[in-house]
């Protein structure tokens, strides 16, 4: 019987089957950040188990609130820093070298096809873009991961989403995933894995695949997965070139983690994006999705471009293309937060930061910041933000604030007009006459 990607990964990592369909699997990596790990550390210390299973397989970053904004966040950083030090964890990214976890860890080459990895963070599913099984977990699971390098999961059921058709200009991975979440609903794939496949996915860059997988959890999925291919190899090449003679050899090894033709899926969904328009959320749930066209004219107070969803160099390039010498609206606060120092540097070298700054954007250091409403752009009650992030829950970016999720292109166009705007249709002159 054929297997899905997740089944192949599970079967190659099985340690124990303590009951029913519960599989204890070996972990190739455990990722940590300063919000959820300190509780796990404190609990391990209290149990007299201040150990780690393998310091080289634990990767740590301070990213959510950095530099620290108050004593509490400073303490979270301190606990993490000291723990990493005393446990000889070398891959620790602190201020100056730190960036948003799900952007910086792939960039450092810490993810490989066929890997299993966990983190105390719901968007860990991002790393599935590399053909890995990556899942967000709670504190107890994180503790066990840190201590023993294992984690228990139910044997995975997979939904296959075949994304086909010709994607139109001005439509991006973010629009695709928003349309999928709108279709599945926020519980549409709860506790299941989503395998993203089809011609559209095959043509996507790793960045775009990460955007896709990043939001799988917004439809309830444990993980989003794309099968590894030459694009995956190219992205990882600088990290694996000593392990494989050629790229083809690397690919041959990675395709072990491709799904079998006769794999059994819980559901198979055809998703044709030929007629897909840019999408935006309208409510407090990520499945409250509409075409931008139906939301045009909604005035925004802030535009936020960044996060693990859309803070990568490709996203910044797309937004800069739309900004292209324009100024943002007088009443809009524009915030750009490049996801990692590497992205920041690249954007600097390519003149992208200048485009943003000339347009009137504030450029912050790499951090999660406003995405979770903890710093760097928290909304006041009644304010509206056009955002490239992944969550629009009530209060996410600040109590009483409203977040509309969209692509970097839509966000940039919206920053210019001050109203939710389709980047494709955007023409400055027409808007000046037509803006409400």
């Amino acid at each position: 019987m054929g297997k899905t990607i997740a089944e192949k990964i599970f079967d190659s990592h099985l340690v124990d089957n303590p009951s029913g369909d519960i599989n204890v699997i070996r972990l190739d990596a455990v990722f940590c950040h300063e919000i959820t790990t300190p509780v796990a550390i404190n609990d391990l210390v209290a149990r007299g188990k201040d150990r780690v299973f393998d310091p080289d397989k634990i990767k740590v970053v301070i990213d959510h609130v950095t530099p620290a904004k108050d004593s509490k966040t400073a303490m979270q950083g301190k606990i993490l820093r000291e723990w990493a030090k005393r446990n000889n964890i070398r891959d620790f990214f602190d201020i100056g070298r730190n960036g948003v976890c799900h952007a910086i860890f792939p960039e450092k080459g810490f993810v490989r096809p066929g890997y299993t990895l966990i983190m105390g963070d719901s968007h860990t599913c991002t790393h599935g873009a590399f053909g890995a099984f990556a899942a967000g977990v709670g504190t107890t699971d994180l503790e066990v991961g840190i201590l023993k390098g294992v984690c228990a999961f139910h044997y995975p059921l997979t939904i296959k989403i075949n994304i086909s058709g010709q994607i139109s200009e001005g439509v991006y991975a973010k629009d695709v995933i928003l349309s999928i979440i709108g279709r599945l609903g926020v519980n549409g794939s709860t506790n299941k894995v989503i395998e993203f496949t089809g011609s559209v996915v095959n043509a996507m860059s790793m960045e775009a695949r990460m955007t896709l997988c990043n939001m799988a959890v917004e439809a309830g999925a444990t993980c989003g997965i794309c099968k590894p291919d030459m694009t995956t190899v190219e992205y990882l090449w600088e990290f694996i070139k000593d392990e494989y003679a050629t790229k083809e050899a690397a690919l041959e090894s990675f395709v072990k983690f491709s799904p079998d033709h006769d794999a059994i899926y819980d559901d198979v969904i055809e998703h044709d994006v030929s007629r897909l328009e840019p999408q935006v959320t309208f409510g407090y749930k990520p499945d409250h999705v509409k075409p931008v066209r139906d939301m045009e004219g909604i005035k925004v107070d802030q535009v936020y471009i960044g996060s693990c969803t859309n803070g990568r160099i490709e996203d910044l390039r797309v937004a800069a293309d739309v900004l292209n010498g324009e100024k943002i609206s007088d009443f809009v606060r524009g915030i750009l937060s490049p996801a990692t120092p590497k992205v920041y540097n690249q954007a600097l070298e390519e003149g992208i930061l200048k485009t943003f700054m000339d347009a009137g954007f504030c450029v912050t250091n790499p951090t999660c910041g406003a995405c979770l409403g903890m710093s760097n752009g928290v909304l006041a009650e009644g304010e509206i933000c056009a955002s490239t992030t992944n969550r629009n829950f009530n209060g996410r970016m600040g109590k009483g604030g409203m977040v509309h999720l969209m692509s970097p292109a839509t966000a940039a166009a919206t920053a210019i007009t001050g109203y939710i705007t389709n980047s494709r249709l955007y023409k400055r002159q027409e808007m000046q006459g037509g803006a409400k």
């Binding site: 340690v15 124990d16 303590p18 009951s19 029913g20 519960i22 204890v24 300190p38 509780v39 404190n42 609990d43 391990l44 149990r47 188990k49 509490k72 303490m75 979270q76 606990i79 709670g138 504190t139 107890t140 699971d141 503790e143 066990v144 201590l147 023993k148 294992v150 228990a152």
Partner: protein, 174 residues
């Protein structure tokens, strides 16, 4: 091992969610102990006064779908911090139930008639439950009443309880 016996707190409502068990604003705390004063702070339940009613209790008896809402593990921790380490209900939200066993605390389901019976005969009285894990029995006492109620849990859940939770279990076994 904890003996999972003690005084009972009756919560006569279904669908008590994790926000009611521990409000989201306390999720920034970095230790389990710090959650102690906030348990059930926001619960909508007539006649219930958290600080007065929780004190001295070690067991909760409640209705259906206890622990629904977010997957936060702070919910069982807030119970544990208050010395409550057994919840008996008609049913549980799946993740909450798993989180309880992962913390080494039983979340035991009893039939709706049994729960009705407990509320009818024991709620409002000073009730004690003794748990016998060898015989899978609850011994329930109040005034002159004494009853034995059998229960069942899976072997894996039992192993987690005996080990003291998933961390201890995994550390021993893997």
């Amino acid at each position: 091992m904890t003996n999972f016996s003690g005084k009972v707190l009756f919560l006569d409502r279904s669908d008590i969610n994790t926000d009611e068990i521990i409000p989201a604003k306390y999720l920034t705390e970095i230790s389990k102990k710090a959650l102690k004063p906030y348990l059930l702070e926001d619960i909508k339940l007539e006649g219930f006064a958290p600080h007065k009613d929780i004190k001295g209790k070690s067991i909760i008896v409640t209705r259906a779908n206890f622990g629904c809402g977010s997957s936060r593990e702070h919910a069982p921790w807030a119970l544990e911090a208050n010395g409550i380490n057994l919840v008996i209900a008609e049913s549980f939200a799946r993740i909450f139930k798993q989180n309880m066993f992962n913390c080494g605390m039983p979340a035991v389901e009893l039939p709706v008639e049994t729960i009705d019976h407990l509320f009818l005969n024991f709620a409002g009285k000073e009730t004690l439950i003794e748990t016998d894990f060898e015989k899978n029995l609850f011994i329930i006492k109040a005034d002159k009443l004494k009853e034995e109620i059998p229960f069942s849990i899976s072997d894996f859940d039992r192993a987690l309880i005996l080990a003291g939770g998933w961390v201890e279990y995994a550390d021993l076994k893997y």
